[in-house]
Symmetry: C3
Subunit: 212 residues, 3 copies
């Protein structure tokens, strides 16, 4: 039980670091000053979970948890250091973003299950937790959210979350194995999608209709 809690805590911290750094890198690219970078890191890291907690009407997780705030601060400092030594960090950013997506999707689903919500709503909460930090980050940077521009992003979150719920109900795999393997599946889908330029079929004509 305690081991399980430690795994969950480690997952939450890693996801927070991953998203904070993805926010910091994106903000540095737009030439924001250090406090601007810190705000984007913060929004990217806690945005999805904040929306989830507001929707669930439970206390917002970081309001009573200074550790999370310190972790985000340190992750932002780390991003400055990484940026200083390693100018070409596309692969790093991609991996962080993918791990954050997997980690936060599972946390969101778990919170939904704890509130006895319908599985469809739980998957929705998982997708919100996983995707909306990055969406808010990109809205603040005034660009179309990465999630809508890149291959198989929300799809990976929804697919991983659905599989997690199916295995939880219809298999005997232990919870920790389930958690870790779903996260790795989401990262794997994202990695293969980007490497081989997978795209979802669009089901509609791609001819431009002009601005409406």
């Amino acid at each position: 039980m305690e081991f399980q809690q430690n795994i969950s805590l480690a997952i939450e911290l890693l996801g927070t670091i991953a998203f904070a750094m993805s926010g910091a890198f994106a903000a540095m690219q737009k030439r924001f000053d250090p406090f601007g970078v810190l705000i984007i890191s913060f929004v990217a890291a806690v945005g999805g979970g904040t929306i989830r907690d507001l929707l669930l009407d439970v206390p917002v997780f970081w309001m009573y948890d200074v550790i999370i705030c310190l972790v985000i601060f340190l992750a932002t400092v780390l991003a400055f250091i990484v940026k200083y030594f390693d100018k070409n960090f596309r692969v790093t950013l991609f991996l962080f973003d993918s791990f954050g997506l997997g980690l936060f999707t599972i946390i969101g689903i778990q919170k939904g299950l704890n509130a006895d919500l319908h599985p469809i709503i739980c998957v929705t909460l998982g997708t919100i937790t996983g995707c909306f930090g990055g969406i808010l980050r990109d809205i603040l940077l005034n660009r179309i959210p990465l999630i809508f521009r890149k291959e198989i992003y929300a799809t990976a979150s929804i697919a991983g979350g659905t599989l997690f719920l199916l295995l939880l109900n219809f298999s005997t795999v232990t919870y920790t194995v389930l958690q870790v393997s779903t996260i790795l599946l989401i990262v794997l889908i994202r990695t293969l999608a980007v490497k081989y330029h997978w795209q979802m079929p669009k089901f509609y004509s791609t001819r431009s209709d002009g601005e409406m």
Copy 2:
């Protein structure tokens, strides 16, 4: 009484379908993949009501209502089918958007009245419910919200909502007639405004002052 409830339910479902499809069409225009389209549909359909419920501190309506989620899913599928057969859907989108605006404005005002709020706050909640789904949709698509670019949009919502409250307090018209006629008024204002290029007077010089 039961008839009244059925009318309200029908209004809510139609508004949801209208906004979900407006979101789906807009996302398809930006070449989003199916799950991206689904997310935009979802945000457009429930965004305004979600902000309203968070402000009222009541349970967010779709969290405990899987039917709404299924309706949005089906409306998105329907949008794909309509898009496949009818490439020129500007008029359809416009009508959906206008009906959604009217329908949701009235729902928002009703929720404000149920919470015993001041009439001015009720009209504000109606405008938020009617307009913020579309505003969030356009923010996610990284464009200036349609509501601020098009003729007489928020104006129609505020005017219709104010009239609804006035008639409710100072006339003997039945509630259902009041509801339906206010919605039709909002759609009518929007339609005439677009057809005859009505614009609100601006009350200020239109000379550009440059970017600040």
Copy 3:
């Protein structure tokens, strides 16, 4: 005690007027119609405080306070009048924006202290109250938030807020003096930063890495 409450009320009203007018001016620049201008004013004035109250899970301040709504309406009308007579209002807008930042930062911190939160969280709430009205305003106008483009903005809020908390705990200055002087400090930092083009050091290479 009553004097202190009156000062706090005056601060809140002035901050509301300042942010509402900054929103109105920005919306007029984008040629919005009067109701569009009103919505932007409203969001700029109450946006930061609304997010703060949702995070704290306390009643959203303007929902039960029609006075605030009327003040925003009058501030918007005032902005139209000012715009009519004074076409070059850059300095006015800048001063309003800076005062709003200072005023709202302190209000946010006070609400955090009332809820017995950790000082770091209080400074975060102050920054959210001070900055997110302007951030939401700029998101609605589809531009990169001013806060990230202009010199020493969030920095002034965070610095002023931190000093306020330090002096509150480690000095014997009266509360009112503390309040007013912190606000003036934030305005001073902003004014000097803009006048002398202060910039935070960036701590990273400013060479472009291209769009990711």
